[in-house]
């Protein structure tokens, strides 16, 4: 057996070392490349969504001149002050009058320039200022989605031509699309908004929070502070750990079978969604809660016991308040996940077409992620930018919640 001797003189050692250092650099670069690629994916995702979606927050408006006294709008100005003003303008045939006005302003082609959204905007303007009815007024009104698309990017050739003609006269502008934040689902992409879905999301999350937080915290306290070491406790622990990893769609099947088919709770209501998501979020809160409780040092428990507190007082007066920041961080992260969840809610029927925002937790509702899913299925091109815009709204909420969790963690977390 020969032993290879390292010689420092003939340069073989040098070249070996160089090779090894090169390998070291390559490995390091590979790591940097991997993480760079992941970050690039995220950046690409966010930039695409922003690129596609920012247009959804703006709305093309056209200037139109309406000669109210000469038009066939028949509204009694006195009725506009009354409580039924909205019905009055709703049944006044504003759409027809608008089509007429558009034709007089921009020619025969323009009869479909304005739609329901414009009529509603006009109605609102009339309620605010009934004196318009007695004059010739110039108004900026939102155009329908076909022309909106033609303006923002390529649409049908006729629409494109008309839009260019109007634009050349300076009668086209871009305005912030307030409607998108205040309206609900509709069949026309020009009139849709996220408010209904957002309200549904809030109601659902409130139900989830009200159930999952107390139950999760109490279960975490029991398991960490009181539970005897026996088979039952093991069973509880195993089921919590498993529930945390069960696919969310399974919780949807559970909700469908138990809450809808067995308990006959109202279909597609926020309460059922909230219950289902609560069952899904609870294990997350328990696991986060247990970690937070575990990190409270035993000396605090001993001191409280030493001055005569009962075990229950130790836990509720000392351990829980000290563990609360950690518990809250876990809860907010769980809530953010519930807010972005889609699949289980599809199972319990929260995918219906809901055109009015829910008034309570038993009303039919939809939530923002499901709304995004529904819009993404639409063939009409106007929905594309609206879907991305809704995604931006959802992402902003997710970022806010996660930011709050990170802030809480940094601000209140104590290291013992």
């Amino acid at each position: 057996m020969t032993v290879a001797a390292s010689r420092w003189t003939d340069g073989s050692m040098d070249s070996r070392l160089r090779r090894r250092y090169a390998a070291e650099r390559r490995f390091r670069l590979l790591g940097l490349f991997a993480i760079g690629l992941s970050v690039a994916f995220l950046a690409f995702l966010l930039v695409t969504m922003a690129w596609r979606g920012l247009g959804g927050f703006s709305q093309t408006e056209a200037r139109v001149t309406i000669d109210f006294p000469r038009s066939d709008i028949m509204i009694d100005p006195a009725a506009l002050a009354g409580p039924e003003a909205r019905q009055v303008v709703g049944s006044a045939g504003l759409e027809g009058a608008l089509a007429q006005a558009a034709v007089t302003s921009y020619g025969e082609e323009a009869d479909e320039l304005f739609g329901g959204a414009a009529a509603r905007a006009l109605g609102k303007a009339l309620i605010e200022d009934p004196s318009l009815l007695s004059q010739r007024a110039e108004l900026w009104l939102p155009v329908t989605s076909a022309y909106d698309i033609a303006r923002k990017d390529a649409g049908a050739p006729e629409a494109e031509r008309l839009v260019n003609a109007i634009d050349a006269r300076g009668d086209l502008r871009r305005a912030f699309n307030v409607n998108f934040l205040t309206a609900s689902d509709a069949t026309d992409p020009g009139e849709i908004g996220v408010w209904g879905a957002l309200k549904g999301s809030f109601l659902t999350i409130i139900v989830t929070m009200a159930l999952a937080f107390p139950i999760g915290v109490l279960a975490a306290l029991y398991l960490e502070e009181f539970a005897p070491r026996n088979r039952w406790t093991d069973l509880i622990e195993v089921s919590i750990n498993n529930l945390a990893a069960v696919p969310s769609i399974i919780f949807g099947l559970l909700g469908l079978a138990v809450f809808l088919n067995f308990m006959h709770l109202p279909r597609s209501a926020a309460i059922v969604g909230g219950l289902t998501l609560a069952l899904m979020t609870m294990p997350v809160i328990v696991i986060a809660g247990r970690n937070a409780i575990k990190s409270v040092p035993p000396s605090i428990r001993d001191a409280a016991l030493g001055v005569g507190a009962s075990k229950m007082q130790v836990v509720f007066h000392h351990v829980l308040p000290l563990a609360l920041p950690g518990v809250l961080t876990g809860t907010i992260i769980g809530m953010a996940r519930a807010l972005g969840e889609t699949a289980p809610l599809l199972m319990i029927g929260m995918r219906a077409f809901i055109a009015t925002p829910p008034k309570g937790i038993t009303d039919p509702a939809t939530v923002l992620p499901v709304q995004i899913f529904l819009w993404s299925d639409e063939v009409n091109r106007g929905f594309v930018e609206k879907t991305s815009a809704a995604i931006i709204v959802l992402l902003i909420f997710m970022l806010l919640m996660n930011g709050l969790a990170i802030y809480l963690r940094n601000r209140f977390e104590q290291r013992w």
């Binding site: 090894r20 250092y21 390998a23 070291e24 390559r26 490995f27 790591g31 940097l32 490349f33 991997a34 993480i35 992941s38 994916f41 995702l45 695409t48 969504m49 596609r52 107390p214 999760g216 109490l218 279960a219 029991y222 398991l223 539970a227 509880i236 089921s239 919590i240 750990n241 529930l243 696919p247 769609i249 399974i250 919780f251 099947l253 138990v258 308990m263 006959h264 109202p266 069952l279 609870m282 009962s310 075990k311 229950m312 509720f316 953010a336 996940r337 969840e341 889609t342 699949a343 599809l346 199972m347 995004i372 899913f373 993404s376 991305s388 995604i391 959802l394 992402l395 997710m398 990170i406």
Partner: protein, 461 residues
């Protein structure tokens, strides 16, 4: 509605009990007859808990029972007797009548529902009034007994703590109940499905076309429920394509973050990776369907795959892989961090470079943990729904060509349950059978993964 009133009444009784017991104990204390065993607030809480909890428990257990009783009462009424005996039709009429009675809808599709609605309202108000009255009585009775015990030597604190303990135990039992609920509801529906379709066909069949015809003479009226193509699609997208993306990227990211990255860079990169994990899956799905899928299809056609689909397995798998990266990375991060520092130091002291230490010492030592993490990631990927619903197709192909369209278990569950669904049909029940299969697979994966991780942790502790 009257149940809600009963709930409020019970809470009011409990509050009243609290106040009475509290003032009574306070009076005893100020009277100076001796030292009170428990603080007045505990006496109050004791009375309130006794008044509230038994009554609330009764109400909570009553709600599901009442639905059944009301339905029976309605069915035994003359209008109920006149209903068609066919299950599906009768159920839909009953559901409509219930909604009308609750004011959730104005008119039903079936004319019978309008005549049934008053019966529903009547039976519901009768039963809920009775249950409400019983609950309030119990609240009064139990509250009164508890209130009478208020006194100098009574250990109210111990009593309150016993209730609290029960509450804590009950909260932790909900996890078991949920697991049980999942298993039972899935099992129950699956057994009904297996009465219609044989288990061997479901587990071993290779054709999946759940469209059962409405009329018997329609073409393709026999649905086929062979689930092999679905499971293949699920594994192909979730366990093969997604993992080819996620394992190298996630592992290398973890290595860079733990071994090479300066602390300040790491403080930025980790939250960014967490954001990647926090993006809702519906967003990934939309991204996959709208941005990635067309590119993949064009690439497929360019390299000569004529069957390239715009719902390719590759697009869904790639995006799912990206979604899983942070998951793999954080699991690998944990296992690498758990390798004892002494092993790393020893290797470095022998003159190994960092890369050599990582490849030859850290990774082999951390391997069980990494494998466990990868298994958990696979279980996440195959249960993932929205990406595949939006980006993968519906055609159940048995193909290994990543440019072609495959379908997955979760896609089909969504598809089966969100169309026009009829209960009792094999189509609807099949979704539950698929759900049960998915549940069992993910459960097994998780158990194996956890055993891996635990055994490995023990090795170094």
């Amino acid at each position: 509605m009257s149940l809600f009133l009963a709930l409020v009444a019970v809470l009011v009784v409990a509050l009243g009990g609290f106040w009475l017991a509290f003032t009574k104990a306070s009076q005893i204390r100020t009277a100076g007859a001796g030292r009170l065993n428990s603080l007045p607030i505990y006496h109050g809480a004791y009375a309130a808990l006794w008044a509230a909890i038994p009554a609330l428990l009764l109400l909570a257990m009553w709600v599901p029972v009442q639905n059944g009783l009301v339905e029976q009462a309605v069915l035994s009424s003359p209008e109920g007797q006149a209903l068609p005996t066919f299950d599906m039709q009768r159920d839909s009429i009953l559901a409509e009548a219930r909604e009308i009675a609750r004011g959730e809808r104005q008119v039903g599709f079936n004319t019978e529902s309008a005549t049934l609605a008053p019966r529903f309202r009547e039976a519901e108000s009768r039963y809920s009034a009775a249950a409400g009255a019983v609950a309030i009585l119990i609240a009064f009775g139990a509250g009164f007994v508890a209130l009478r015990r208020t006194g100098l030597t009574f250990r109210a604190r111990t009593g309150v703590e016993r209730w609290l303990m029960g509450l804590l135990l009950a909260a932790s039992l909900i996890a078991i109940l949920t697991t049980l609920g999942i298993v039972l509801s899935l099992l129950f529906e699956t057994l009904r499905f297996f009465k219609l379709v044989s288990p061997t066909e479901f587990l071993l069949g290779t054709t999946w076309s759940p469209q059962t015809a409405i009329r018997a003479d329609q073409v393709g009226s026999s649905g086929a429920f062979g689930s092999i193509p679905l499971f293949w699609g699920t594994i192909f997208i979730g366990a093969i394509i997604a993992m080819i993306v996620a394992i190298p990227l996630g592992l290398m990211s973890a290595i860079f973050l733990t071994q090479y990255s300066p602390a300040r860079l790491r403080a930025w990169l980790k939250p960014i990776l967490e954001i990647l994990a926090g993006v809702p899956t519906v967003v990934y799905g939309y991204f996959a369907a709208l941005t990635v899928a067309p590119v993949i299809r064009d690439i497929g056609i360019a390299i000569g795959v004529s069957s390239a689909s715009s719902e390719s397995a590759l697009a869904a798998g790639l995006v799912m892989g990206i979604m899983i990266i942070p998951f793999v990375s954080s699991m690998a991060d944990d296992s690498i961090a758990a390798v004892p520092q002494a092993m790393r130091d020893g290797s470095l002291a022998l003159g190994a470079t960092k890369a050599e230490t990582i490849k030859k010492v850290l990774l082999p030592a951390a391997l069980p943990g990494v494998v466990g993490g990868v298994l958990l990631a696979v279980s996440r990927a195959i249960g993932e729904t929205m990406i595949v619903v939006m980006a993968a197709g519906l055609s159940a192909n048995l193909t290994a060509n990543p440019f072609e369209s495959v379908t997955t278990v979760t896609t089909q569950i969504v598809q089966l349950l969100t169309g026009d669904q009829e209960f009792e049909s094999a189509k609807t029940l099949a979704a539950f059978a698929l759900g049960l299969a998915l549940f069992i697979i993910t459960l097994l994966l998780n158990l194996i993964a956890l055993t891996f991780v635990r055994r490995y942790r023990e090795a170094y502790e």
